[in-house]
């Protein structure tokens, strides 16, 4: 490999260093915009909360009707609050088109699910199987879209698990819907969220070692 020197004294090694610097900074920018694992854990717990509430207070019409809306409202309030605190603490604004695309997918999935469930409840055309299957499909769609944007195989597998759960509900006995729902929430939301948080922590510790 030949070395060279330009008129301003730049050598080949200088150029190689510049390429390495660019690669490192581009990767750094990407890493910093990705911080979402906790949101999956939060919504996994929020979706399990009404089930626990209904089991704790059985045969209560009030709990049956209001446990879900209250849990969802609490979920939004907690998410907005935590995001505001995190932003204020870090004092950082950094957004990317990819990050916004993924946020948009999840936000629109949430809106679609809310309209679906609200319509079904108001029209009294709801049933646990149709409800749960639709929810699993919606979440699977959002995971699948996000996996395609991020080119992230692990999230693609999680999407498949949601879809399989959604389809399986139509073929399983009615008494299994709760097990399927809880299983999906534990694996596809809380488990996946914890995995994403672990990856984020691993990346940030690798970044610390690089900067040290």
């Amino acid at each position: 490999m030949a070395n060279f020197k330009t008129e301003d004294g730049t050598t080949r090694d200088d150029l190689v260093q510049r390429v390495a610097l660019m690669e490192e900074m581009i990767a750094e920018g990407r890493r910093s915009t990705i911080c979402f694992g906790w949101i999956f854990v939060l919504w996994g717990l929020i979706d399990l909360a009404p089930i626990g509430w209904q089991l704790a207070v059985p045969h209560s019409d009030w709990v049956d009707i209001w446990s879900w809306p209250i849990a969802i409202a609490c979920g939004f309030a907690i998410q907005i609050l935590v995001m505001a605190i995190r932003r204020r603490r870090s004092g950082v604004v950094c957004s990317s088109m990819r990050g916004r695309s993924i946020s948009a997918v999840w936000a629109m999935m949430g809106l679609t699910a809310m309209l679906y469930f609200a319509g079904a409840m108001v029209a009294h055309k709801s049933g646990p199987i149709a409800f749960t299957a639709a929810m699993l499909m919606f979440v699977g769609m959002a995971h699948g879209t996000s996996a395609m944007i991020l080119r992230w195989r692990a999230q693609g597998i999680v999407a498949c698990v949601w879809w399989i759960g959604g389809v399986a509900l139509f073929f399983l006995s009615n008494r299994y819907w709760l097990q399927v729902f809880v299983g999906e929430m534990c694996f596809g939301m809380i488990g996946f969220g914890l995995y994403a948080m672990w990856l984020e922590r691993r990346n940030s510790s690798a970044e610390g070692q690089t900067n040290a």
Partner: protein, 98 residues
């Protein structure tokens, strides 16, 4: 022998190149974030950002986040074009060195 391309001196500075590489992947970023990621000082980064701004490679916007003042930077289309040209020149130079 074909003539070797010139490297844009505004982009070639290490800190300026690091900042542009960070900005190319994000929509906008604030001064604090850029300073932390590049491990630079306020004074040095401020001076380099001014050079990039003068060249038209980044645009700056000052705003308040609550009561806190915030300086946001984003890469301009001219900056993106210049960085792409710089990368192409780098490739040519490194290719010529093989």
């Amino acid at each position: 022998m074909p003539e070797l391309p010139d490297l844009d001196p505004v982009i070639h500075g290490k800190l300026r190149l690091a900042v542009l590489s960070l900005l190319v992947g994000v929509e906008e970023a604030d001064f604090t974030w850029l300073r932390d990621k590049t491990a630079s000082t306020d004074g040095n980064l401020g001076a380099q950002m001014m050079k990039l701004e003068e060249a038209g490679y980044v645009s700056m916007q000052k705003q308040f986040a609550g009561r806190k003042p915030q300086t946001l930077y984003r890469m301009t289309p001219v900056g993106r074009k210049a960085l792409a040209k710089y990368v192409a020149a780098l490739k040519t130079l490194l290719g010529a060195a093989l």
